[in-house]
């Protein structure tokens, strides 16, 4: 039964990698009584900012999604594609872009300042929420747009011929079904926010639990406190993740949003305004990085190149490991198991792994492998969701044929499944590579000064106010992330016979 053994081994590895660190955290954590009032403030801020980030994202997404659903215009499908980009955009790059637009010396302040508008300040709680809306508005738009496009077009025709109020008859019931799920998914994502809070938050009024874990590590050198906070984050993630699983419908990485439903209602101008506002909000920070980054490329410090190599090593290693684990796990049970990882945040895993390796090696010696592993666990749920339909249809279509020809085990994978899965594998590998390339999370706990990854070095440049170089690094990072995604995705598509 060697064929059964491989999925079981893969499942055990994944379960072990999640359960091991979680156990370490639970064992070392001091329980809730060990929490100070500052920790409780962090807990309430985490929930508060996640709530508002999710509410604002979902509410703003409604008019944007409606406009996209009923208007056909030049660049519509390009705009919808761009809405998928924040998913693979390195968080730190987006933050730099937001700083360029909304920051103290940003574009808006330069333009609005002379008009007497009070100076905008992006640091603090509202900055955290702004960044979260930037990342999650596109996700909300895509989820809600799916709901809109799922309404059969005949119903709009009937409603129009009856003069019935389209919103109350057709759209509100759909929104009532989709919005709670979209809210829950975004709420969970924002609960685990680290890099945004690290850069834009901080201080007593804008510290998330994840950031508090980092601070316990870095500033207090207090591992028990970090572990206690990790337990808090773990409970938070599991509770909210469970709720999200119950509420969420629809596919986060859905395709087929290219259709426009013919409609006989609504204002063309208003829809246009919404689309322009959303596009400007999403594109301006990216443009800012591009414009400011080009001269910065010449200004890059030499330390950037080893950091780039480390990041590439992590990204490519994560791709290989993720694929090796995902292929045998691409079943319903495997997908459910991998969801374990999604409600356990990267920093919780990092804290646990730190506690586990610390007695044996210096944690900074294993910074790169640990970062790679955590990224593998974070990417697995998405990768499995992408691969499973392909594996299942290959099994349905060709499983019996393969069996009757005596193909089994690795031969079956080599001749039948791998060639059938080229496209989804390329896409999934691209996502994994881009996410790992841009990850700024667990590496902050483990790395020694001077041995950071590209996102970490970029963050350090920002901290040192070397903005020119930081913009250059951002451009390099975004080019590598998107480049990795593009290369894998393209590799999967080339010559694929479907």
């Amino acid at each position: 039964m060697a064929q059964r053994a491989v999925p079981i081994i893969a499942a055990l590895i994944v379960a072990g990698l999640v359960i091991g660190p979680v156990t370490a955290v639970l064992w070392r954590g001091g329980g809730f009584s060990a929490l100070s009032s500052a920790d409780l403030d962090a807990l309430s801020f985490t929930i508060w900012q996640a709530f508002w980030s999710a509410i604002i994202s979902v509410v703003l997404a409604v008019p944007v999604a409606r406009a996209l659903a009923r208007r056909s215009f030049f660049g519509r499908s390009a705009l919808i594609s761009v809405m998928g980009a924040p998913f693979i955009l390195p968080v730190i790059v987006a933050i730099l872009g937001l700083l360029a637009v909304f920051g103290g010396r940003g574009f808006l302040n330069i333009v609005l300042g002379p008009l007497g508008v009070p100076k905008l300040d992006i640091y603090g709680a509202h900055g955290v929420i702004l960044a979260h809306v930037f990342f999650n508005l596109p996700l909300a738009v895509r989820l809600i747009l799916q709901g809109w496009l799922a309404i059969p077009s005949e119903r709009f025709r009937v409603a129009a011929s009856l003069g019935a109020p389209v919103f109350w008859v057709l759209e509100w019931p759909m929104l009532r079904r989709i919005m709670p799920g979209a809210f829950a998914v975004i709420f969970v994502i924002c609960l685990g926010s680290f890099a945004v809070a690290l850069t834009l938050g901080g201080g007593p009024k804008a510290t998330t639990v994840e950031l508090a874990i980092y601070q316990a590590f870095k500033f207090d050198f207090d591992l028990s406190k970090a572990a206690s906070l990790a337990v808090v984050q773990l409970c938070l993630g599991l509770a909210a993740g469970g709720a999200a699983l119950l509420l969420s419908r629809g596919d986060m990485i859905g395709v087929g949003l290219d259709r426009v439903v013919q409609r006989w209602d609504g204002s063309c101008i208003l829809d246009g305004v919404w689309i322009m506002l959303a596009a400007a909000f999403l594109l301006a920070p990216l443009m800012a990085v591009l414009v400011a980054g080009l001269p910065g490329v010449l200004d890059l410090p030499p330390s950037i190149w080893p950091a780039t190599l480390r990041s590439l090593f992590i990204a490519l290693g994560a791709v290989i490991l993720t694929m090796a684990l995902a292929l045998p796990l691409a079943t319903k049970a495997g997908e459910a198991a991998s969801l374990l990882g999604i409600s356990v945040s990267g920093l919780v895993l990092g804290t646990g792994l730190f506690l586990i390796v610390q007695p044996f090696v210096r944690p900074s010696d294993v910074a790169l492998p640990v970062t790679m592993l955590v990224n593998v666990l974070m990417a697995l749920p998405f990768v499995l969701r992408i691969l499973r339909p392909g594996v299942e249809s290959a099994r349905d279509d060709f499983g019996k044929l393969g069996q009757s020809l005596g193909l089994s085990g690795w031969t079956l994978w080599r001749i039948v499944y791998l060639p059938r899965l080229r496209r989804p594998m390329g896409f999934a590998a691209g996502l994994t590579g881009a996410l790992a390339m841009g990850d700024l999370g667990v590496i902050t706990l483990f790395s020694r000064p001077g041995e950071g990854t590209l996102p970490l070095v970029m963050y350090q440049l920002m901290g040192a106010y070397q903005m020119q170089a930081a913009y250059g690094a951002a451009l390099l990072l975004v080019a590598l992330s998107l480049g990795l995604f593009w290369a894998f995705d393209k590799g999967g598509r080339a010559n694929a016979v479907v």
């Binding site: 279509d397 060709f398 019996k400 044929l401 069996q403 009757s404 020809l405 005596g406 193909l407 089994s408 031969t411 001749i415 039948v416 060639p419 059938r420 694929a496 016979v497 479907v498």
Partner: protein, 230 residues
């Protein structure tokens, strides 16, 4: 002789009982209304469906517990008989080797069988570059090249037009007989059975009856098939 000895084949919650003997070297048609379990019978013989009780024997050897690849059975499925990403040569070559690079003698064998089914010179094409009839021929070529004594056909030509379907049926039976194969073919068309089958197994919901001589079955069908055959 293929003997289903009080066999119960399951597919999900569905069960089909079969207690029958099929003569070796003959063509046996399996007829019955859709959903009655014709495919379940073939899948059971091929080893794809779990067998809940009874035995299946081929030439007195018990094959009940053998996995599909170890049974003396080749199968033409209703669809998806060819891997779309492999060439015709590679698809057919899987009958002799699971390496996609064939040795020269293996290539010669594949080419010979392709010639026999009328696909000479088309070995380098992908299935998508073939017509429906040609795809059926490629699948037939592989089933013939597989060195298995029983050939199961689960309506592999049902997507073809009537003329082409009859032509492929004739060709399959002719080549299978020449190779000494025992053919068991599902059909919902009594005319197919009349054309090529020596015997007919009637399948009513839940039960497969023992084979009857074709002419007799069609002239005087059992009670359960009168409505179906009209």
């Amino acid at each position: 002789m293929l003997w289903c000895d009080q066999a119960m084949f399951g597919q999900g919650t569905y069960e089909l009982s079969a207690d029958l003997k099929i003569e070796a070297g003959k063509v046996t048609a399996v007829i019955g209304p859709s959903g009655s379990g014709k495919s379940t019978l073939l899948g059971g013989i091929a080893g794809f469906h779990p067998q809940h009780s009874g035995r299946v024997l081929w030439k007195d050897a018990d094959i009940t517990l053998l996995p599909p690849q170890n049974r003396p059975v080749s199968m033409l499925f209703q669809d998806n008989n060819l891997f779309p990403h492999l060439t015709v040569m590679q698809n057919v070559g899987l009958a002799v080797s699971s390496r996609l690079r064939l040795t020269v003698p293996q290539r010669d064998r594949v080419n010979a069988i392709l010639d026999r089914v009328g696909l000479g010179g088309l070995g380098d094409r992908l299935p998508a570059a073939l017509s429906g009839g040609q795809q059926s021929r490629a699948a037939l070529a592989r089933a013939l090249l597989q060195d298995r004594e029983i050939m199961l056909m689960d309506e592999p030509f049902s997507a073809l037009g009537p003329g082409l379907k009859a032509e492929m049926l004739d060709l399959s039976v002719e080549l299978a007989k020449a190779a000494g194969r025992t053919v068991i073919m599902v059909t919902h068309d009594p005319a197919d059975a009349a054309r090529v089958a020596d015997a007919v197994i009637g399948v009513a919901p839940g039960i497969a009856f023992a084979p009857a001589v074709t002419s007799q079955f069609l002239r005087d069908p059992p009670e359960a098939f009168k409505d179906y055959l009209g």
